[in-house]
């Protein structure tokens, strides 16, 4: 196995590791750091793949990832939690070991799922597709198990990271237009959610999502 392939596999395993770490992390501030690290790994991966395969537009993609997911979004999120004064909040999670076990089941499922696809794909990165799907599913699981609003948003962003990673490993990245579109969507989404947090905070005096359970049709 060439050095590049080994590097790519290393990046993939780092992605998975960070995804598990996010799933286990209780503090919001640490969660944001982990998210930034994940972005950094993603950017590095794009860079390596681009360099190895000669798809130079991946450099651009790595640059945008670095700019947005390693710098801009974590900064915005830090600013948000400072303003909302929830930096040191510890989230009461339901049973982290059980969640991690469920995560392992998901990883097995993802590898099982990716097997036929990676056999078809002729890319050097094909082995990492299973990990990419696993990252998406783990981020989803994180969104489901979190109670507060900010970790849910981070889960959403991590899911987007996983999708990006999947695109890179399956087909050497999406077309540039699509990639830019998704990035733009993420920025707008975070902006809207940021405003939304303040509104929720004003309405309910907390960012705990259980207050929104009232928003349903009452029983007749």
């Amino acid at each position: 196995m060439s050095t590049s392939a080994q590097l790519i596999n290393l990046m993939a395993s780092l992605m998975l590791l960070i995804a598990f770490a996010m799933l286990a992390q209780r503090r919001i501030k640490s969660l944001i750091y982990l998210f930034a690290w994940q972005g950094l790994v993603l950017a590095a991966n794009s860079l390596i793949v681009g360099w190895y395969t000669g798809h130079h537009e991946l450099y651009l993609s790595a640059f945008f990832t670095l700019l947005l997911k390693v710098m801009a979004l974590p900064l915005v999120l830090h600013y948000l939690i400072r303003r909302l004064d929830i930096q040191w909040d510890v989230e009461t999670l339901i049973n982290i070991p059980a969640t991690l076990l469920a995560g392992i089941v998901l990883v097995v499922f993802a590898f099982n799922l990716a097997l036929p696809i990676s056999q078809l794909a002729g890319t050097i990165t094909r082995g990492t597709l299973g990990i990419a799907i696993a990252v998406v599913l783990l981020a989803f699981l994180m969104m489901i198990t979190r109670r507060k609003a900010v970790p849910q948003v981070i889960g959403f962003l991590a899911m987007e990271n996983g999708l990006f990673f999947a695109a890179t490993s399956a087909t050497y990245g999406m077309p540039m237009v699509v990639e830019l579109g998704i990035l733009l969507d993420v920025i707008v989404g975070v902006l809207i959610l940021g405003i939304f947090f303040f509104q929720v905070r004003e309405a309910f005096d907390s960012l705990d999502l259980k207050h929104m359970e009232k928003l349903k049709e009452s029983d007749p």
Binding site: L113, L137, F140, L141, K210, L215, E217
Partner: protein, 670 residues
């Protein structure tokens, strides 16, 4: 003699535009009743008259078609004017003329919607009905059809502040949309693999018997919902009492006929290879509807509801006629097919005239008395002689008495039923005479209904004190009523003229023209099959009736002159005679309730013999409502509440739903 011979289609399009402009002009001064009723409605009436002239010209001409540069890109509106659509446009124009005239004097201020809005909806309604008949592709047809449904919905809910009226409007809209969905599917099925939705392409598309039958049944359901065929009739008795009288007249007289038009268009024109049981289905359903309608009409005590059920009966007869024509058509008997079709179309025209007359008459009564309940009316002949006189013509025509128009069409239809020679199917040979018996029963009962309607409203003594101050209809309304009454008489007296017009339609649809066998007998005698079998001379009947009346009058004058004694009506020697001792509407309907009790859901509240305030009431409800509609509504609510369980209000649960869906789909596609 015939103006606009060159381009009747252009003229008709011009009229549509003219009506739309009048409607838009209503928005200029929406609150001004004077402007709307004195200026705009008479102008609209003029459009109706022009439409009659243009359509009468177009009936005799070859089909003309046109492509309008409107609609979606690459999907323009196709228009076509042939004898069938022209015939129905004659109907639209004639009715629109009379109803617009009536509306001039009818609408008062302060009744629900603003007059300007009413004017807009009314004229959009008229134009959309014309566009339905002009449409030559399924796209324009559905657009016009939906415009018609929506504009009439807004007209029905003119007095939208009353909850019952909103409820009636909702029911109407719901059933109209069920019908529209059926039609959409029907056109989809006919379309099949054809390139586009123009009717020419649909005509050329030959369907397998299965898909053809599916298309036919969908058309029956879709047009039946609009016309009020049996299981989908429930909106009629709710919407007609809710709507203002000119609107209910227009809906009953014209809008129901657009459904007949559409059914003929699809059944005879677009579906090229009919099967024999299609006609049987329409025939049986039509006869059941007719019997059902007339039975319920007999027991109603609200005058507009009574007329609504009577409309259901007429629509049933019309669909039975269409079914019969389809049976003959599939067995290649063009003569009888043409006869049945002509009778049906004739009945459409007649029904439009006399039902309009009666609906408008009830409108005048309603305005004069503020009362729809038959139990509180009576004796209006003295205070409203004009309305009473014209309504008498309408009532006699519905009852099917010669020499008026109702008789001619029912007689023709019976001829088609009775003179059907051996069809190649023995079951049909048994069924068709049974059908004629049902038709006669419906016709006879409708006579009964009309005796009740007319007798309880206009004859006898007033049942309430306020009826004494009822005023007769104004000049405009009298003109409109006279127009319809004259129409009833003329259509009854000159059947040959109508048959000559219908010939163009029948030769278009079933390749046979009746006048080829009936002409030569002249205008006096009218023999649809052969002169030696059955013939009808309306003028002889008229002469006979006039002669008998004259002789009786003269005899009475000669023998009893000067010895005339005026007494109280029904004063059989009792000194204390009150209006409450008259036969009531419920009393009149009692025998029908007794005989046909299993068909009604009767609820009686008998008074306690010792009660000081005895209460008696009885309601006759529609069983179909309880058998079909309520179960569907309850099932819908139950399913909705099951689905409501899914809704927790927790974001985590919703995310879990999408997560589970994602996993399931991933498992499924791998």
């Amino acid at each position: 003699m015939y103006p606009f011979e060159e381009a009747p289609l252009d003229l008709i399009l011009g009229i549509v535009l003219y009506w739309l402009l009048i409607g838009a002009a209503g928005l200029l001064r929406p609150a001004s009743l004077r402007f709307v009723s004195r200026v705009l409605f008479p102008m609209g009436a003029l459009g109706g008259l022009l439409l009659v002239i243009a359509a009468l010209t177009a009936v005799r001409l070859d089909p003309a078609s046109m492509v309008l540069p409107l609609g979606l890109p690459d999907l323009p509106f196709h228009l076509r004017l042939d004898a069938l659509s022209a015939f129905f446009m004659v109907l639209v124009g004639a009715i629109a003329f009379g109803v617009s005239l009536f509306s001039v004097g009818y609408f008062r201020s302060g009744e629900g919607a603003l007059p300007g809005l009413l004017c807009l909806q009314y004229h959009v309604f008229l134009s959309s009905m014309v566009m339905v008949m002009l449409a030559d592709d399924a796209y324009l047809f559905m657009v016009a059809w939906e415009t018609m449904a929506l504009s009439s919905y807004f007209l029905v809910t003119t007095s939208h502040r009353i909850p019952e009226i909103r409820r009636a409007g909702f029911l109407y809209l719901l059933i109209a949309h069920i019908g529209a969905i059926a039609l959409l599917l029907c056109f989809g099925v006919i379309h099949g693999e054809a390139g586009h939705y123009a009717f020419d392409a649909l005509r050329a598309n030959s369907l397998s018997p299965f898909w053809g039958s599916a298309a036919f049944l969908l058309a029956l359901a879709g047009f039946g919902a609009k016309a009020g065929l049996l299981p989908l009739h429930v909106w009629l008795p709710e919407a007609h009492p809710a709507a203002p009288s000119p609107v209910s007249a227009l809906m009953s007289a014209v809008m129901l006929k657009t459904a007949v038009y559409g059914f003929l268009r699809v059944g005879f024109d677009l579906l090229s290879a009919p099967l024999w049981w299609w006609g049987v289905t329409a025939l049986v359903l039509g006869l059941l509807t007719a019997l059902f309608g007339v039975m319920f009409a007999a027991v109603q005590s609200d005058m507009k509801r009574l007329l609504a059920y009577s409309s259901i009966e007429s629509i049933g007869i019309i669909f039975a006629g269409v079914g019969l024509a389809m049976i003959f058509h599939t067995y290649h008997n063009p003569h009888l097919a043409a006869l049945a079709l002509a009778a049906t179309l004739y009945h459409c025209l007649n029904h439009a005239f006399f039902k309009c007359l009666l609906f408008l008459g009830t409108g005048s009564v309603l305005h004069a008395t503020n009362e729809r309940n038959l139990g509180r009316l009576g004796g209006l002949m003295r205070t409203m002689p004009w309305v009473a006189g014209f309504s008498l013509v309408g009532a006699l025509a519905i009852a099917g008495l010669p020499p008026l128009n109702g008789f001619v069409s029912e007689w023709l239809l019976l001829q088609a039923f009775l003179f059907s020679p051996g069809l190649p199917n023995p079951y049909l040979n048994m069924l068709v005479p049974l059908g004629s018996a049902a038709l006669v029963l419906a016709a006879a009962l409708s006579g009964y209904v009309m005796v009740k309607f007319y007798g309880v409203i206009f004859l006898g003594q007033p049942r309430e004190d306020k009826l004494a101050s009822a005023h007769d209809a104004g000049g405009w309304e009298r003109c409109a009523l006279a127009w319809f009454a004259l129409g009833c008489i003329a259509l009854g007296l000159f059947p040959m003229a109508v048959i000559l017009m219908l010939d163009h339609v029948t030769s278009l649809l079933v390749n046979f023209s009746l006048s080829s066998v009936t002409s030569g007998r002249g205008w006096l005698l009218f023999a649809p099959i052969a002169a030696q079998r059955a013939s009808y001379g309306p003028l002889f009947f008229l002469l006979g009736i006039v002669g008998t009346l004259a002789v009786t009058f003269l005899a009475v004058r000669a023998f009893y002159h000067g010895r005339l004694r005026r007494g109280n009506a029904w004063d059989c020697g009792f000194p204390a005679q009150t209006s409450r001792m008259q036969d009531t509407a419920e009393g009149f309907g009692q025998p029908i309730t007794q005989i046909f009790e299993p068909f009604f859901r009767v609820r009686r509240e008998m008074p306690d013999p010792f009660s000081r305030t005895p209460v008696y009431f009885k309601t006759n409800e529609d069983r179909i409502w309880y058998w079909l509609y309520l179960p569907v509504a309850h099932a819908h609510e139950r399913i909705a509440s099951w689905i409501g369980v899914l809704q927790h209000g927790r974001i985590h649960i919703y995310l879990l739903y999408s997560f589970a869906t994602l996993l399931a789909l991933l498992l499924f596609v791998r």
